[in-house]
Symmetry: C2
């Protein structure tokens, strides 16, 4: 087992995990596919819409039959039939002819445009006047205009939104190959931590991190597997971690923030077979006591015990990792919001600070209001809408600075 | 049955539904509560953390015992014991005394501050030197500092994020009262529409809207109930709508965009008992042919058949309604992102335009790139990150205008 005992940057921590591959894939019903990550590029095997389609109610015509038509000098066309919705037209359209068609109807052979009904006048059952000319292709969707056979519109590694599910429906995909959601085991440690269902005695606190981190795992597309609480006991921790790693794709331990507890976590991780401590101290605030190890081909996280610190580390480091394990490789583009700082925020050079902020809209502008004060408390996480990052090379930010807010 | 046959604004449409109450409530396990909407304010019945807690590894002391202590003139304190994690201290701290304590430990009686271990030096097993003074309350969290008994931190109508679930855990809530998710029936109509699993014949298209709208219902916190496809048949539509409304909380019909199909939807809605057409034409683009009716105490939506138009109307009108049915009343604050237009966008006075945009980050700035062209196609919905709105009183927007992007 090798170790790095110096504090590392966020980027270094991420880089030390980059070799871990995503989990496997599975097929899901189309109706369950939204929110999942696509496991393979989707190439269209058909044209969409697949036939020449009208975008208007009116008459399918040869455009040339209408050239020069105006209110004062309309073109006279013979109506030779109607297109039924959902069927190919049985008639074809010749020069000087028109066929009734509805929005979404299939153009008859011979027709290359549609005249809107508003620009026609029926003279009798079989004759219309066209009062405005149409160009070829006007009011028509070409057979491959939405998607052409052989084209790829959806890509492996993208999270499926409603519109991508719609494309899959259009292509007839009743089942979709997606990455299976990574299973994230969650363990709370500490002799002072008691289950949510019990009444804490003096000195005890309820297990908050299992709930908070479990919900964050879900939001990152994973499946939380809560392991409950284990006290500061080496053998029990070791057995629990071993069992967790045989089943889960990654393990998150949130522990007390005392030096002794952190040392115990390190001791447990070191005692596991084929383990390597990758990070023991992270140059961010909050979150400095973060531990990261590789055990076999799985990552194990040791998060600070303070709920707010654990949330920040999860948000900036673990959530992106869980997303990557779950196959996500094509980002939700730009998930951050620009805003202006409502007041200055101090920081320390050489450390990356994550500051909770509340968003306020004032005079049509977004303001980020920093929530300073006690960092470990739940209250500020509830009162905040997201985090801003203060760069490692910056000594604080001035009022009115434009910042990026990462919503949480 | 009364009717409004003029095109109405978005605000008018929303106002005509404002009297419909949210659905009922239900209890869910804490582990399932994330993402749900809280059904009642949560008042704390306890103080949090509930005891005076150390935020450091070190020694619990009376701050006064350290006053004036420096490196060169340290204070000498007698170590009288240790605090065990998760237990109340058995010793108390007197003047000139110190008790070992870890981060998260409960302060012994008599102590009002904690000296960090880094600012002490052990002389022998029972004596330390303190090299820096501490103020009362330093490195200590007060019993009610995170949350005080009787205080309300969580409110009815708020969607629960991980941190709110954490608060519920801290308060011992194994079950949480939330709004039940509204059931949204989804019906596709049109003789040209065939199920996803079938191979369309010429003139037919697969049912895309059921999948797209179903996924959007989920994203709005509802449960989609797909009713499949019904052709342009009055009796069958009527029977399907009646059955749907007896079970679901609201019904979304997406139909062809032809005038005949729209008229048929109106005819069906009018034939239902205690029905009222609230909207028949909406002053937005896309989405003008939108229909909205009240049937009994339920809303029925008639969306355009074009997938992109149906998505826009759902996004701007139906989704907020489904969220409100689901009890959401305390907004995710400011869910829009400011960005600058990459090029000018034309618009028509008197109509609110929703334009699909792609977001690009360029020189640290967010640019919104309008996706113009065919509005009905699936492709632009996939290529876009969201919508911008062009106000009813504006004739287009210039390049570089700051716009709000609603992600979708």
């Amino acid at each position: 087992m090798s170790e790095f005992f110096h504090v590392v940057t966020l980027e270094e921590a991420v880089a030390r995990l980059s070799h871990l591959p995503p989990v496997g894939t599975e097929g899901v019903a189309l109706s369950e596919a939204a929110g999942r990550v696509l496991a393979a590029d989707v190439r269209s095997d058909i044209d969409l819409p697949g036939f020449r389609r009208s975008t208007m109610d009116g008459y399918a015509v040869r455009a040339a039959s209408t050239f020069g038509a105006t209110e004062s000098s309309p073109a006279m066309l013979e109506v030779t039939g109607s297109v039924e919705m959902g069927a190919s037209a049985e008639v074809s359209v010749g020069r000087g002819q028109a066929v009734r068609i509805l929005t979404g109807g299939m153009l008859p052979s011979g027709a290359d445009a549609v005249v809107m009904v508003e620009h026609t006048q029926a003279l009798d059952n079989a004759t219309i006047e066209v009062t405005r000319s149409v160009a070829p292709k006007q009011n028509v969707i070409e057979p491959d205009e939405d998607l052409a056979q052989g084209e790829t519109l959806l890509w492996r590694g993208a999270r499926l939104r409603p519109q991508e599910v719609g494309v899959l429906a259009a292509l007839g995909a009743e089942e979709v190959q997606v990455f299976r959601p990574p299973v994230v085991a969650i363990l709370s440690t500490g002799d002072e931590v008691v289950p949510v269902g019990s009444v804490p005695r003096p000195g005890q606190i309820r297990d908050v991190n299992s709930s908070t981190l479990g919900a964050m795992v879900r939001a990152a597309g994973g499946v939380p597997r809560p392991l409950g609480i284990v006290g500061d006991d080496l053998d029990e921790l070791l057995a629990t971690c071993r069992a967790a790693l045989s089943e889960a794709d990654t393990l998150v331990i949130s522990g007390g923030s005392s030096v002794g507890t952190r040392d115990l976590t390190i001791e447990v991780l070191a005692a596991l077979a084929d383990s390597e401590i990758l990070v023991h101290g992270l140059a961010i605030k909050p979150g400095k006591p973060t531990i990261l190890a590789r055990v076999g081909d799985k990552a194990v996280w040791g998060l600070p015990g303070h709920v707010a610190s654990a949330m920040v580390v999860f948000h900036v480091l673990v959530a992106p990792f869980v997303e990557r394990l779950g196959g996500l490789s094509r980002g939700a583009p730009v998930a951050r919001q620009p805003a202006r700082l409502s007041r200055s925020v101090p920081s320390v050079h050489g450390r990356r600070d994550f500051v909770r902020v509340r968003l306020e809209e004032r005079d049509g502008q977004l303001r980020a209001v920093p929530l300073l004060g006690r960092s470990g408390l739940l209250r500020t996480t509830v009162e905040s809408d997201g985090l801003i990052e203060i760069d490692v090379n910056t000594e604080g930010l001035d009022e009115d600075t434009e910042v990026w807010v990462r919503r949480w």
